[in-house]
């Protein structure tokens, strides 16, 4: 144990003396948290909507006005017909084009229905589907008003089925509540995996590992001395991120914070173990950086942080079963937003503990003092 303490003292001395790395370790992740939360906001505002109104009736104008009244749309009009509207969409001058054909009001009054056409920029599919969703809501509202105006409010038929949504655990569908916990996972993972993988490789690069290998230090002592500092730093960052999230974004903390840290403590051993494994197969810091990056991109994109895992194809979902990051993203959201207890996430705990044992066993076996 004394040897481990000696190694720890040396590691912390080196970490806190590295003027280039210190801000990267402590400031960069928290700055990322503050910035990325806004970047990853999936709410769509300020959609530029071009209305090509060929009807020029009360109904068509009322519909356009409704779009304009919504804070999601900036409405402008064109009088030059549909072709000019399409040109604007092609040129990127507008995000969507609403075509209102002639006889819109007439058809609505006589037949009770009238066609509308909405052209969307589908380059960003997610964006387009959100715009469509908002447009549908606005048009549906307007429909009710039109019927009221024509037939009197008593005659408005009730829709046969009406869905009233309620978003549990995140009542206002606030994306920040979803992103902040997820980003906490990312920054803890980044620091844990990158730094641990680079640290041991650095000893290889400068050659000090030779002397350590010759010294009567046991493998587990050396590895513990290497991984513990980053375990502490990562947990510290998680705490700092949580405080920032609460203070700045007012994220809900429904569940038990100690439970969250208990899970993080186990989870970090998986990422640190992976870092260790990478450092045993790399000879230079560049190699270890690229390997870490390769794993992290896959882990983070398949973590359910940005895109729901349920939307992925089955084979990709299978991959996420082996993705430690996805378990932690899940747990952070469950504990913070839903207030899940230990029994609720016992399965996650078991899986992540199994990963921790497997990854570290592999890494320790792969690390050899003797070639």
């Amino acid at each position: 144990m004394r040897t481990v303490l000696v190694l720890l003292r040396k590691e912390f001395l080196q970490i806190f003396r590295n003027k280039a790395m210190l801000p990267i370790i402590f400031v960069a992740p928290l700055a990322q948290l503050l910035i990325l939360v806004h970047a990853a906001d999936f709410e769509v505002r300020n959609v530029r909507l071009l209305v090509s109104d060929m009807d020029r009736s009360t109904a068509s104008r009322a519909l356009a006005e409704r779009f304009n009244a919504s804070d999601r749309f900036h409405v402008s009009f064109t009088a030059q017909g549909f072709d000019a509207g399409m040109h604007a969409l092609d040129a990127g001058a507008t995000d969507a084009l609403l075509r209102i054909p002639v006889h819109f009001e007439q058809d609505l009054g006589r037949k009770g229905s009238a066609p509308l056409m909405l052209d969307l920029n589908g380059v960003d599919g997610q964006y387009a589907s959100l715009v469509l969703l908002y447009s549908r809501q606005i048009i549906a509202n307007e429909q009710v008003h039109v019927i009221q105006r024509m037939h009197g409010s008593a005659n408005v038929p009730r829709p046969p089925v009406e869905v009233i949504p309620r978003y549990w655990y995140n009542l206002r569908m606030n994306y920040k509540n979803l992103m902040v916990p997820g980003l906490l996972v990312v920054l803890v993972t980044l620091v844990g995996m990158f730094l641990s993988s680079m640290n041991i490789v650095r000893e290889k690069e400068i050659g000090t590992i030779e002397q350590i290998n010759v010294a009567p230090i046991k493998k587990w002592q050396f590895i513990l001395g290497k991984l513990l500092p980053f375990w502490f730093i990562s947990l510290f960052l998680l705490a700092a991120g949580l405080v920032l999230g609460k203070l700045i974004f007012d994220i809900p903390i429904e569940g038990s914070v100690p439970l969250l840290f208990a899970f993080a403590a186990v989870y970090l051993w998986v990422m640190l173990g992976l870092g260790l494994f990478i450092s045993t197969v790399s000879d230079t810091q560049q190699q270890s950086m690229f390997l870490s990056w390769f794993f992290l991109v896959i882990f983070i994109l398949l973590s359910g942080l940005f895109t729901p895992i349920d939307n992925m194809p089955h084979w990709a979902q299978v991959i996420t079963w082996f993705n430690p990051v996805s378990y932690f993203v899940d747990v952070v959201r469950l504990v913070l937003l839903k207030g899940s207890s230990f029994t609720d996430i016992a399965g996650h705990f078991a899986a992540i503990a199994a990963f921790a044992v497997a990854v570290n066993a592999g890494a320790v076996l792969n690390y050899r003092k003797r070639a």
Partner: protein
């Protein structure tokens, strides 16, 4: 103290060591001499338990280095080819770190390093990365010595160090030897061979000769001459054409000539003058280790 017995090692198609046997008694300063790539580092890494041999055995203080590696690791001081120090730790922190990983303290063994560390003491708080090459080398030696090892293994300790520091370093090794420490040192510099008790000449993984520098040079059975002139290169080409000469190598500003038998110097002078080399000075010399090495390498 150290017995290397029929060691061979292969890296893929490259035979790094071929059936090498060396014996180093306690308290000896043994030098492994050879050019880059001869296999010196490979052999040393095996002695200090960092590398396994394909065949053969090495014993260290009577213990096998493979099965009893713990004994070796407790009792060896190893200085790898690149001075392995933590550049971002200070001189004192480096020393204290290496002392504590060997479960000892700087205080306990200070007398052993007092001479060397005395020169570093004024810079004790300086980062190791900011030291000069010679200073780094001294610090690395202190770090390798701090646990009072039975054996010091130094892999090319003087490579890349200035001439004055090199001389100082060998003085330090002599003092350490006087304290009973067995020293195994490798170097590509032939002039350092004469400073060892015994040397081994290593080339392409083969041990060409081993013995004291005197014995080894005494083995040189050909007459050896030095030639000095203003333009050595044309002379070298001219000499190499002469059938009575075995080999001609440049040696600093002079040429060393190995002859098949005793040369008739006035006749050679005459022959060279005929070819236009009038200012050549020729004289018989005693062979050094390098002469033998060049001879054996042919």
């Amino acid at each position: 103290m150290i017995t290397v017995d029929h060691i061979s090692k292969r890296y893929g198609p490259v035979e790094a060591l071929k059936d090498v046997s060396i014996s180093v008694p306690r308290g000896e300063l043994f030098g492994l001499i050879g050019p880059d790539g001869a296999g010196k580092t490979t052999l040393f890494r095996m002695v200090v338990t960092l590398l396994l041999a394909d065949s053969g055995t090495i014993t260290f203080d009577g213990h096998d280095v493979v099965s009893d590696y713990r004994h070796v690791r407790r009792n060896v001081g190893y200085m790898p080819g690149t001075f392995s120090l933590y550049q971002d730790l200070s001189v004192r922190e480096n020393l204290e770190f290496f002392a504590s990983v060997f479960q000892t303290t700087v205080k306990k063994n200070y007398d052993l390093i007092a001479d060397i560390y005395g020169m570093l003491e004024p810079f004790a708080d300086r980062r190791a990365g900011a030291l000069s090459g010679g200073m780094k080398q001294k610090l690395a030696l202190c770090c390798a010595l701090i646990h009072k090892p039975l054996v010091l293994v130094l892999d090319e300790p003087t490579t890349g160090v200035d001439a004055v520091s090199r001389r100082e370093f060998w003085e330090m090794l002599k003092k350490l030897k006087a304290q009973g420490i067995t020293i195994l040192v490798s170097t590509p510099y032939m002039d350092e061979a004469a400073l060892c008790d015994r040397i081994g000449l290593l080339q392409d993984g083969k041990l060409l000769r081993s013995g004291s520098p005197q014995d080894i040079t005494a083995n040189f059975d050909r007459p050896l001459y030095a030639a000095i002139c203003k333009e050595p290169y044309p002379l070298l080409l001219a000499l190499r054409k002469l059938p009575e000469l075995d080999s001609v190598f440049p040696f600093g500003t002079a040429l060393h000539i190995t002859a098949k038998e005793q040369l008739d110097l006035p006749a050679l002078h005459k022959e060279l003058a005929r070819q236009g080399f009038s200012d050549v000075e020729l004289q018989p010399i005693e062979p050094g280790v390098e002469d033998l090495f060049m001879h054996l390498m042919q």
